[in-house]
């Protein structure tokens, strides 16, 4: 399976190389690549359908437990087949659709990466690899939404989708890490029998919330739904593929995949159920005033995603069955309808539904395709969408207490979807012809073949549900709820309450369609207040973050050297003091107070000359003062057995004073710059630093020190380094490379000094 993934990425990389020379056939060539992956996985169909699981592990970072572990079971195979099958159609379609676009070759790179990552995601058993693929789909989605990057809206909404789904991805990863701490492994299959442990873990609520944030952002559930309609800025094949058929189902996939280990609690089930139901209803309602074909479809996608989420929340056998049928049915008809919308846009030049009418003569094949898909979407017998909706209704009816209420919600939501379907699937083709920006004509074969095939597949699945869906159903259910369904799928269940509800939905939908313009007139002036719109929350957060970044840059990076130093010192000293004071007895040391006369004298000289340097208003006096400090340092070194240090210090101090005098002698007197208040502030900070250092030295010197290095150097100095002055041997022998580095630094400093002194700045009038 890793080979297939690698082939996928390699093929994506090759795409731009062969795009130009083979432009006319590129759609067919590109489609052969998802077809190959589709067939490779289809060949495993029998094996999986008879209850086997294929697992494959390739080590990646074994020390961290991160590996390419791929697992193919009913659930992942279903997703892989959907992804690659629709991939075939979309690639072929895009070959024709994208021809007019600049950089169409890049488009195929991005879509190729997307498809491969999506397949990788649904077959990953390792949570970290799953996360990597998950983020790859977010990134390719970003690149594809922003494909028309000269358009400001495209860029803005691409970023929006990336931030929302990417942020959710991070939450998901955090959830995964918490989960792995319970099971001790990143493998999802290691969680299978741990449901009990996970539910009782103290981190359970955190895990559920984090995982669900990841899933809800990706699958555009309320209140994260706003990015999906905005993502319609992408070229239509992308909307059909990523933003209706596959990527937006990734979140739902995660919920399904995690259900067996996280499910079974009120927190998990109710959250999913309620959020799903809200999304189902509100997304459908929000579509009522849209005129854009793609936006309409996007809202209906949201509604369906909500339904799917809700079904997982119900979690009964029947609900899982409905989930499974509905997800397949939706991918087929929604992919098709998006592609039909693309054809309409491409061949007539507009996507505005009010400007499209009577095109049946010009586009007969598209019309038939749209009709099949629309019947499926509306839930009309004998298409697969009918079975889907029937099962959804039956599953909802089973819910205790809330069943009838939820059913009402579902009927309203679906009636609105029926309205959308009429607008998208029928209105453009029937009625009187309205002239369009472009002379309408039928799409090329590359563009109608795929959608038509998907539409026909929807019909076949409806008539022979057991052939196409039935066999994988049981295996998928095992992956989701750990038990077999043992329910058969039938097209016709007889005349019953659920059928009546389907009928009501249809009538209601048609009714809404005919009164649509009147409803629009009434609600014309009604606008949702900003505070109720989650997209405004997003804007607020984003702007807030930007202004905060600006504010803190202004504070922290304000160009004043001393402010930088103050930040660094205060932070360092505060943290270090915190650490020092936490040590027990750190301040209960009794230092040796005994001092001799000359020690006292030395200390006095240093202190006096230090204050002299600080307070003096003459440069020369300050330099003399600092020279005195340096020489006393040398005396301290002599007293404490460090003659080499003393010699060096005397030499260097002399040089420093000479250099200072030579360079600074001619400059004017000090000017008073600082205000008294800032002086006070600096005195406080300086005293703090000084006090901390004193305390630290007292504490450190109160601990006994045994240095093995001291012994080592003195023992090996004569036999190893042939020298009797151990300090010198260390410098030129044991740490010779260090000394070499030091000499290099000096040489560079000398070069710098020389260059600065000799440099002629001609243009500055030097």
């Amino acid at each position: 399976m890793l080979t297939l993934i690698l082939i996928g990425f390699a093929a994506s990389a090759i795409a731009p190389l062969i795009y130009k020379p083979l432009k006319n056939y590129f759609g067919w060539i590109a489609a052969s690549f998802p077809l190959y992956i589709f067939l490779s996985f289809l060949s495993k169909y029998n094996q999986i359908a008879s209850g086997n699981i294929i697992k494959e592990t390739i080590e990646w970072i074994p020390s961290l437990g991160i590996n390419f572990t791929f697992l193919l079971d009913g659930l992942s195979l279903t997703f892989v087949l959907i992804i690659t099958l629709i991939g075939v159609v979309v690639f072929l379609y895009a070959g024709a659709y994208m021809r007019g676009y600049e950089h169409a070759d890049r488009f195929f790179v991005y879509v190729g990466i997307f498809m491969t990552s999506m397949v990788g995601m649904v077959i990953s058993d390792n949570m970290m690899t799953l996360f990597v693929f998950w983020e790859l789909t977010s990134i390719s989605s970003y690149l594809l939404i922003g494909f028309n990057h000269h358009n400001e809206k495209s860029r803005k909404y691409a970023l929006q989708a990336l931030l929302v789904t990417g942020g959710g991805g991070l939450a998901l990863m955090a959830g995964f890490i918490l989960l792995s701490q319970i099971s001790g492994s990143f493998e999802i299959s290691a969680l299978y029998n741990l449901n009990e442990n996970i539910r009782n873990a103290s981190t359970y609520s955190a895990i559920v919330i984090l995982v669900l944030i990841g899933a809800f952002t990706k699958s555009a559930q309320f209140p994260f739904h706003f990015w999906l309609p905005n993502a319609m800025e992408a070229p239509t094949p992308v909307s059909a593929y990523l933003h209706s058929a596959t990527m937006v189902k990734a979140g739902i996939y995660i919920i399904a995949r995690m259900n067996h280990s996280l499910g079974g609690t009120a927190l998990w089930q109710d959250t999913i159920l309620i959020i799903g139901a809200i999304t189902m209803l509100f997304a459908a309602i929000l579509s009522y005033n849209q005129m854009d074909l793609k936006k309409l479809l996007a809202y209906s996608t949201l509604s369906v995603l909500g339904t799917l989420t809700m079904l997982l929340g119900i979690g009964s056998k029947l609900a899982i069955k409905a989930f499974f049928i509905y997800i397949i049915a939706h991918s087929l008809y929604k992919g098709t309808l998006f592609l039909v919308a693309g054809i309409l846009d491409h061949e007539t030049g507009t996507r505005d539904v009010s400007k499209l009418s009577g095109l049946r003569k010009y586009m007969p094949i598209t019309m038939v395709t749209a009709a099949f898909a629309s019947f499926s979407m509306m839930g009309i017998i004998p298409l697969v969408g009918f079975i889907g909706k029937e099962t959804v209704y039956s599953a909802i009816l089973e819910v205790d207490y809330w069943g009838l209420f939820l059913l009402a919600v579902a009927v309203i939501g679906n009636a609105l979807i029926v309205m959308i379907t009429i607008l998208v699937g029928f209105k453009p083709f029937w009625g009187k012809l309205i002239s369009t920006p472009k002379e309408p004509h039928e799409a090329p074969i590359k563009m109608w073949l795929g959608p038509l095939a998907l539409a026909v597949l929807g019909l076949l699945m409806g008539i022979f549900p057991n052939v196409f869906i039935g066999r994988l159903l049981d295996q998928s259910a095992i992956s989701i709820i750990s038990e077999k369904l043992e329910l058969t799928i039938k097209l016709w269940h007889g005349f019953n309450f659920v059928l009546l509800m389907s009928f009501v939905t249809l009538l209601l939908g048609i009714g809404i369609y005919f009164f649509r313009l009147k409803i629009l007139d009434i609600t014309h002036n009604f606008k949702l207040k900003k505070i109720f719109k989650p997209s405004e929350w997003y804007e607020f957060l984003l702007n807030g973050m930007m202004s905060f970044a600006k504010f803190q840059t202004k504070v922290l990076q304000n160009g004043y050297l001393r402010n930088y130093i103050i930040f660094i010192l205060v932070t360092a000293v505060t943290l270090a003091s915190f650490a020092l004071f936490r040590i027990e007895n750190a301040l209960k040391i009794t230092p040796d107070f005994s001092i001799t006369f000359y020690e006292g004298a030395i200390a006095l000289i240093i202190i006096i000359s230090t204050f002299f340097v600080i307070t003096s208003d003459s440069r020369l006096k300050s330099i003399v003062g600092i020279g005195v400090v340096g020489f006393v340092m040398g005396i301290i070194f002599i007293i404490h057995s460090a003659p080499d240090l003393a010699l060096t210090t005397f030499a260097i101090e002399t040089l420093t004073v000479i250099l200072f005098v030579l360079v600074l002698y001619k400059l004017p007197r000090y000017l008073k710059f600082s205000k008294p208040l800032s002086k006070l502030r600096d005195i406080i900070i300086a005293s703090g630093v000084g006090l901390f250092m004193t305390l630290m030295v007292l504490y450190i010197t109160s601990i006994d020190l045994t240095s093995e290095l001291k012994r080592f150097y003195t023992d090996t100095s004569v036999p190893g380094g042939k020298g009797r002055n151990v300090v010198n041997v260390i410098l030129v022998d044991f740490r010779a490379i260090d000394t070499l580095g030091e000499i290099t630094v000096l040489a560079i400093a000398a070069l710098g000094v020389y260059a600065l002194l000799k440099l002629k700045l001609d243009d500055r009038g030097e």
Binding site: I595, S641, L645, L659, S717
Partner: protein
């Protein structure tokens, strides 16, 4: 003497900090020198002090017997002193050059390239 040296280190660090926060570039350089002295003395003191016993191995002997001064901190400080001198020399000349070019030694007047509008 530990106690006294600890106080001297504190004063040198305090003085260095205060000077490095001044607006005059010369004072900043003086602050740098103070901090250099303070750091050297810090390493020296926390490497423990020994009086009158430098790490010289007498002729004929193979090694030294305790007590004697730890040679390692001394070697490190020796390096630090020399590097410190390089830094000081460069800073002094850089200051001279800056003063000639900009005409001021006020750091606050040299911040314009970094300013956020």
């Amino acid at each position: 003497m530990n106690f006294l040296l600890a106080i001297i280190i504190g004063i040198l660090y305090g003085a260095g900090t205060y000077m490095i926060l001044r607006r005059s570039l010369v004072k900043v350089i003086l602050g740098l020198i103070f901090l250099g002295h303070a750091a050297n003395l810090l390493i020296f003191t926390i490497g423990r002090l020994t009086k009158g016993a430098p790490a010289f191995i007498p002729q004929g002997a193979e090694t030294l017997a305790e007590p004697y001064a730890d040679p390692l901190p001394q070697a490190l400080i020796l390096t630090a002193i020399v590097i410190g001198f390089g830094v000081q020399a460069f800073a002094i000349v850089l200051f001279k050059r800056t003063y000639q070019t900009v005409g001021t030694d006020d750091l606050d007047k040299m911040k314009s390239t970094d300013e956020l509008k």
